[in-house]
Symmetry: C2
Subunit: 454 residues, 2 copies
């Protein structure tokens, strides 16, 4: 059995939903279908979830929301009529929006109720459409599916007891269409996951029913070996391990949020990332272990927006606990760090810039000065990180050479190298201004087979 | 004014002491002379300090020590008579050994008294010899010199108030010869520094009298750019900064123990490392700042005997405080670490092997398992570290490239790279078995100007 999850762009219009229908029809193993809310049809369009959030906020502010409501209803009207489905479905959707807007509940709970209508409606539309194609299909509400969650509006966590209940869905006949993005507390209250939560639902269902494959349908052909906004026409990645996927996602490589996949990863269920618009393409497989050895480097990820906190103190290596006390100060201030290379008299801590407010910055530096008495102390912004990722990196001689050579040839100064913490990645820190030329040069060295240095 | 410190090999025989006399005579600025105990005359010889320690231990064990005592006295006899000095000096030395052996004191205090006789006798011999050359010279006892220390037998620490008293030595006329290695507590008890403590005395006197130069006379022409037991005939280093010196000493680069130089470093006093046997050579200068830019890399240090503690845990980066708690466990077990590179789901901690007993190893691993619940955990021994050191490293593009290329060409797998913590060094971790070929290849790339890869 397979679980197929379709993202917002696959549900944006009748035309797209027809493709979804074709995909489901073409493989009888696709028994579980998880759907997002309708996404954008074009760049100017707005996502259904954003419209619903606006609607909720407008009503909370006691502003007139009729126009917004009309936009939403028209969106659903077009989809439903273009698919030739019964108008009753539209009335049901309209009714549940109005009903939820009028319920006496906290704003947070009401927001979750209204937000969830996008996915819920998509699921009803898709199941009706599959039935219209002559398939045996059912809409299954998350409560019925057994998705029990914690009571944290907008950030629900799955409860472990859910999985036993979900497993029983295997016994049901027909295709089960389940809305993504939300579950129910034990007390029966609807609560949503964090944004992007349809991926979470898909992964939970895949784990619960012990799927042979979890297919994640999106609007790209595959995961690319490097950010396509930095390198033109980069190579596709055919097979990735979970660990490689995770390292790539570390520095801005986001086809989807990798943490959503944890339930599937934990059960060792392979994931396929495919394109609804080109379903015949293989896409990218994410697996726990590769059967065949591929090349040492599978991808290059990169991101900007990092800061370097540098602390120097003569004889630091003699002070047992110095590094630990520094990290304690950061922890007290709720700052997590990416990496903390240390030498005999120095330690540098790499931190996401966004974790600093100007006040926090002053406070952290003050505390370090007062508590650790460093000889030198600085906080520099504008660092970019590049991760070179691949399961073969540790065992392959010459990877560091190739990477350092590529950066030197691009005239990029390496401010930091971190190799050896992870077995599947190597990290370089460079000036943010050098990012594009650095990544392009690395891509050429590792992925362009024709490329040779003159 | 200059402070000249002479190591054991410079005091090992009358012949050597005559060289010391020449050196002092040749520069009237050499007003302060610090001496070690007589060292080895040849490979088979034993150092005076070792003989004295043996003597003390033999007497503590109530074993007959007459033969040992005779060996010591004959050593001094030969030096004194070969220099043509008054025999009265030998009787004084003999008397003070016997006197100290019979004193009613704790073993630790008595050990310090006996150990100190080597340096004390050297100082008396050298001052008498300088007088015999027609120079105005005086033996100055460390108590008289003002070297006040903490009451930690074998590990005395200088007390800050010493420096004011030492400064007054500037006013005295003639050449002052001061024994290295020991000082006195405020209560007047003799206590020795840690082994190699004559360097400490020299550095303290240089700091106290605000010397224009602290000359450290030893038996090598200079500090070498790489360990001469690994690379044949390596280049000499003409000028080093304190920081470079410190980084080089980190991984087994030990002309002398760099921490002994701290008092001199703190006052910015330049240090010259020279050879008693070739005093006309320039030697190596250690300075706070280089006037002229030299090449980016000044030296390569290396050492074996490191372990890697690897901890992997899925979503480690989400657990604020994970790294800090790991370091806390090490701190609790009194284990200091060299370096702790971390990634998204991994952290590796580099630790000196000698810090682990089998019991400690088990305990640390157990605690990590129980308190941090890692997915994977391992402790590997047999790591070697190579440090590439130079003030220009951070600003020079291509250093990492050169180093990684050199290692790749030598077919050495890089297990770890640490760059960015220190501004003056870059660290590579490799298998201990690859150390020689790795260091030789790095040396060629950075120091052999004629070398080019085919």
């Amino acid at each position: 059995m397979k679980v197929a999850k379709f993202g917002g762009s696959s549900l944006a219009s009748a035309e797209q939903i027809k493709k979804v229908g074709e995909i489901i029809k073409s493989d009888p193993k696709r028994k579980f279908v998880i759907v997002s809310a309708p996404g954008k049809q074009n760049k100017e369009d707005r996502k259904m979830t954003d419209l619903l959030i606006d609607l909720a906020n407008t009503s909370f502010a006691n502003q007139p929301y009729e126009e917004l409501l009309q936009t939403i209803i028209i969106r659903f009207y077009k989809i439903i009529t273009d698919l030739g489905l019964n108008r009753q479905l539209l009335d049901d959707i309209h009714h549940s929006i109005l009903h939820n807007l009028k319920r006496e509940q906290s704003a947070a709970d009401k927001m979750d109720l209204i937000k969830s209508i996008g996915e819920d409606s998509s699921a009803k539309i898709v199941s009706d459409y599959l039935v219209s194609l002559g398939l045996e299909a059912y809409y299954v509400n998350p409560k019925e599916a057994g998705i029990l969650v914690s009571d944290e509006p907008g950030n629900a966590q799955i409860l472990p007891e859910s999985f036993e209940k979900i497993k029983t869905l295997r016994e049901r006949s027909g295709i089960l269409v389940i809305p993504g993005f939300f579950g129910y507390t034990k007390a029966g209250k609807l609560v949503t996951f964090s944004r992007g939560g349809s991926d979470i639902t898909g992964s939970i269902i895949a784990a619960g029913i012990h799927a042979e494959l979890y297919e994640n349908f999106t609007d790209v052909d595959s995961v690319y070996s490097v950010n396509p906004t930095i390198v033109e026409n980069p190579k596709e990645i055919k097979v990735l391990t979970y660990k490689e996927m995770r390292e790539l996602s570390y520095a801005g490589f986001t086809v989807f949020h990798d943490e959503a996949l944890i339930p599937a990863f934990k059960r060792g269920i392979p994931v396929a990332i495919k394109n609804t618009n080109n379903p015949h393409l293989q896409g990218t497989f994410v697996v726990s272990e590769k059967k065949e050895k591929s090349k040492a480097v599978v991808g290059i990820a990169s991101d900007t927006g990092f800061s370097t906190l540098y602390v120097g103190k003569y004889l630091m290596n003699r002070e047992i606990g110095f590094g630990r006390r520094l990290l304690q100060i950061l922890e007290d201030e709720q700052i997590s760090f990416e990496h903390a290379p240390s030498g005999i008299d120095d330690i540098s801590v790499i931190i996401r810039e966004r974790q600093f407010t100007p006040e926090k910055e002053v406070k952290v530096l003050e505390r370090i000065k007062e508590e650790l008495h460093p000889d030198s102390l600085s906080l520099q912004h504008g660092l970019a990180l590049i991760m070179i990722v691949g399961e073969g990196i540790m065992e392959t001689i010459g990877i560091a050479e190739k990477a350092a050579t590529a950066l030197a040839h691009a005239n990029v100064n390496i401010k930091m190298i971190n190799q050896g913490s992870s077995y599947v990645s190597m990290m370089f820190g460079i000036d943010a201004k050098d990012l594009n030329k650095g990544v392009n040069s690395l891509y050429k060295v590792f992925f362009d087979d024709d490329y040779e240095y003159e």
